[in-house]
Every structure is written in C-alpha cells, then in structure tokens.
C-alpha cells in the first residue's frame, strides 16, 4: 500500500510543480484562454465546459488554481479522494481548453490518479489519518498494482511499436540515428548536433536500447519486472539530462514506486527503524 501512497504524492507533486512553472513564466492567462480572448490555441475541445459555465475569462484561471489546490491536498492527504477527483476533472478541463499543451504525460498521470481513487492510496501518508484519528491502511487489493503495472507496460509497448512503425531505422544503422536527431533538436534538446555527430554510434546503441526496452516492457508484468524497470529509469534520467521536456521524465518516474513496490516497502521499513 505504501508504494501507492508514494505514487499518489509523487504524481500530484509533478502536476503541481508543472503548473507552478506555467505561472512562474506568466503563461496562465495566455495558455488557458480561447483564441478570441488572446489565447494561443485556435481550437478548444467541445468538452471545455467551464467557459460556458463561468465565462471564458474566468474559466482558465479557475481550472488552473483548482487543479493546484487539489494537488496540494492530494499530496498532503487532506480530503484526498474528493481532492483527487476534483483535481483530475479540473486538470482535464485545462487540457480541453488548451489541447496542444495536454500531452501524453498529462493523460497518463490523470489515468493513474483516477485508478488510485479505487485503492487505499488515500489512507497512507495522509494528514487525514491524524485529523480523523484513524489508522493508516497498509494493504490494498493486488489487482490495483497489477492493473497499474499492466497499464504502464502497455504505454511503453505502444510507444516502442509506434516508433518502429513510423521509423524502422530505430533498429538500423543510419547516418543520423533517430535518437541523435531527437536529442540534438534545438527546439527541445540540449545537445549540439555538430559536436555529437562524431559519436552517432552512442545514439545508435541508445536507439536499439530504447526499442528493445520499450517493446520488451511486458517483462514488467513478471518477476523480473523491478529489474527491467531499472532500464526505464535509466532511459528517463537520460531524457531529463539531454532534453527539455518539463515534467515528462519526472512524471513517468513518479510511477516507478509501483514497479519497485517491494524495494520501496523495504526501504520505508528501514527508514522507520
């Protein structure tokens, strides 16, 4: 149970910091506004209902700050389940209001938080336990872990198969491997393409590793899962160091307590002693 509590806190924390970054750079009123009111995106989803309910100008900031408050409450474990549900809905409204900025990681984290609603993740590492004077619940049905691991594995397998379908040279020896072109892209990467062109063999190896690891992510569902997940952590840390993708790597790593449940529980036991 405790790994799910850690995931709850980590996921909410990632979303919170990601949204605070939007506020820090002064983009709340620009991103979450309709195009007619000065927003960036020409299209909003029909499901962007908040602007019908409370007006276009208030809708974006309302959804934004509601999500932030709910993520704080989710992290602290105060009114956790209602906060999680309201936070998910408000966060989804932000995506409906500004679709280009609602990326795969946002959808993944919303789905994971939604799944955690049906577990006892709110009953551990929660201030509610003190407020309501109740004992934490340290167990949860196994299906919760299994379903979440299955979802994570499916995401990675889809990513790997999608890569190969789009660009078979992920498993080739091209002059400019896909991974090289991705991490040296000035729009998103940190690496200089002119400097790293002499080391494309590294990126060829990395491209192969990425595909083998992603398509092999079904191993996550086996007893070797925690060890396989080490490869995923390596991949995500590498992405965080070489690219500017915001919360993508950290959001995915926030799910890894699920994959490393045994180690996380053992680690928490050691901390308690």
């Amino acid at each position: 149970m405790r790994p799910l509590g850690v995931t709850r806190i980590a996921v909410a924390g990632c979303i919170l910091l990601d949204l605070l970054r939007v506020a820090q750079v002064g983009m709340v009123d620009v991103l979450f506004q309709t195009f007619g009111d000065g927003g960036l995106s020409k299209k909003q989803d029909p499901a962007w209902v908040l602007d019908d309910w409370i007006g276009a100008v208030a809708a974006g900031p309302t959804a934004f700050w509601t999500t932030i408050c709910c993520m704080v409450l989710t992290m602290l474990g105060v009114g956790t389940r209602p906060a999680m549900l309201l936070g998910i809905l408000a966060y989804a409204q932000l995506g409906h209001g500004y679709p280009p900025g609602d990326r795969a990681i946002d959808r993944i984290l919303r789905l994971v938080l939604f799944a955690l609603l049906f577990t006892n993740a709110h009953r551990v590492f929660a201030l509610d336990n003190r407020i309501l004077k109740r004992a934490p619940v340290l167990t949860t049905p196994q299906w919760a872990y299994d379903l979440l691991k299955y979802f994570i594995a499916l995401v990675y397998i889809c990513a790997g198969v999608g890569k190969i379908m789009k660009q078979p040279m992920w498993l080739g020896f091209p002059k400019f491997p896909p991974l090289y072109r991705i991490v040296t892209d000035p729009l998103a990467g940190h690496l200089d393409p002119s400097f790293w062109v002499d080391f494309t063999w590294l990126f060829t190896a990395g491209s192969w590793f990425t595909i083998v690891w992603e398509i092999g992510a079904f191993v996550i569902l086996t007893r070797l899962g925690r060890w396989w997940a080490l490869g995923g952590a390596f991949m995500h840390v590498g992405i965080a160091l070489t690219m500017e993708l915001g919360m993508f790597s950290w959001g995915m790593l926030a799910l890894y307590p699920i994959l490393w449940a045994g180690w996380v529980s053992a680690g928490l036991d050691r901390l308690k002693r």
Binding site: H96, I157, G246
Partner: protein, 197 residues
C-alpha cells in the same frame, strides 16, 4: 458475490485500456490501407504474404477496433484519458531553429543562450509543440496564436519597435551546412497584424 463482480470489472477495465491503446493500432489512421492503390503498392513493396497481414490488421482496426474506440471515447472525456501513446516516434529530419527579430536585431534563437529572449516560455513543454509545428510547417494550425503572443510581448518590451519577424531556419544535419530561411511570419507597426510569408 462482490469479489466476482469486482474481478469482472477489473477485466473489463483491462480490456478497455487495451482496446483504446492497442500497440501499433493506436497509431494507425482510419483510412490507412483502405484504398486498393495503397494496398497494391504495399504488395509490390513487401510481397503479398506480408502485405496481406498488414492489410488484415488495418481492416481489423477500421472495422472492429475503431468503432469500439469511438463508443468508449465518451467514457474518457471527463478525465481526458484518450489513449495514444505514440511518444517521440521519430526525430526531425533537419536541424530546425526559430529566430525572432525585432527591428533587424536578433532577440531569440532556439538553443542559443546569447539570444534567449522568451526562451523560458517558448521551450516550456506546453508551448514547444506549437513552436515546433510553426517552425516545421508553412501553415501550422496555431501559427497565428503563437505569432500574436510573440509580437505582443515584443511590443510590450520594445514599444518603439517597428517590425517583428519570426524566421523558420532549416539546416541539414549535423547543422553546419547550408542554412535556409524556410518561411517567415512578419508583423509591422502600427497594426501589428501577423502575416505569413
């Protein structure tokens, strides 16, 4: 009774997740391999046996999976959990940079620390996709919104400015070859209407 119902629900959820995000199929379009010319081209490329498998998969996706996907789509709208896990399928085929010029002075160039005006905003993960499409495509869907934002910020910071220009700079890999200005977006005082050139 409840444990059995719960087990069935968990199975249903697992099946829904798989239908909505089937590896490989989630990246296929409805029209893919629907055309006989397209199918024939595939047969010529990879042989009738493998083409038959590909066509069969495309037909299954179009006739069975996508209708189920559309039916289930309503369920995911409130939480916006649409399933397409095509994460970074390929890199760009050239080095692309966005340059922002204000009155013949370079203010921003992608990944250039000496010209980093608006870099925190333009490199932010929620804005970067717009910068990418605006730099990659001549008439990206959101070029107008992005350009308008940049122009307004430029005018606020440099009220005396007369002209703001966005340039999409393309260079073949590894980035030290011939550079071309693929397309531009310009706004001129006093109207500051963004125009695609």
């Amino acid at each position: 009774m409840w444990p059995h119902v719960r087990a069935a629900l968990v199975l249903v959820v697992g099946a829904v997740i798989l239908i909505l995000g089937t590896p490989g199929l989630d990246a296929m379009q409805h029209s893919e391999l629907g055309d006989e010319d397209e199918r024939q081209e595939l047969r010529e490329q990879i042989g009738p046996f493998w083409a038959g498998i590909g066509i069969g998969i495309a037909d299954f996706n179009r006739e069975h999976r996508l209708p189920l996907h559309r039916a289930l789509h309503t369920l995911e709208i409130p939480i916006r959990g649409a399933q397409n896990w095509a994460l970074y399928r390929d890199g760009p085929n050239r080095v692309r940079r966005l340059e922002i010029w204000v009155d013949d002075e370079l203010k921003h160039r992608s990944a250039d620390p000496e010209h980093d005006w608006l870099a925190p905003q333009l490199r932010m993960r929620r804005v970067r996709p717009m910068v990418e499409t605006t730099t990659m495509q001549t008439m990206a869907q959101n070029w107008e919104g992005l350009s308008r934002f940049i122009v307004r910020r430029a005018v606020a910071e440099w009220p005396e400015a007369e002209r703001v220009e966005l340039r999409a700079i393309w260079t073949p890999f590894p980035g030290d070859g011939e550079t071309t200005v693929h397309h531009r977006i310009v706004a001129v005082a006093p109207e500051w209407q963004v125009v695609h050139l």
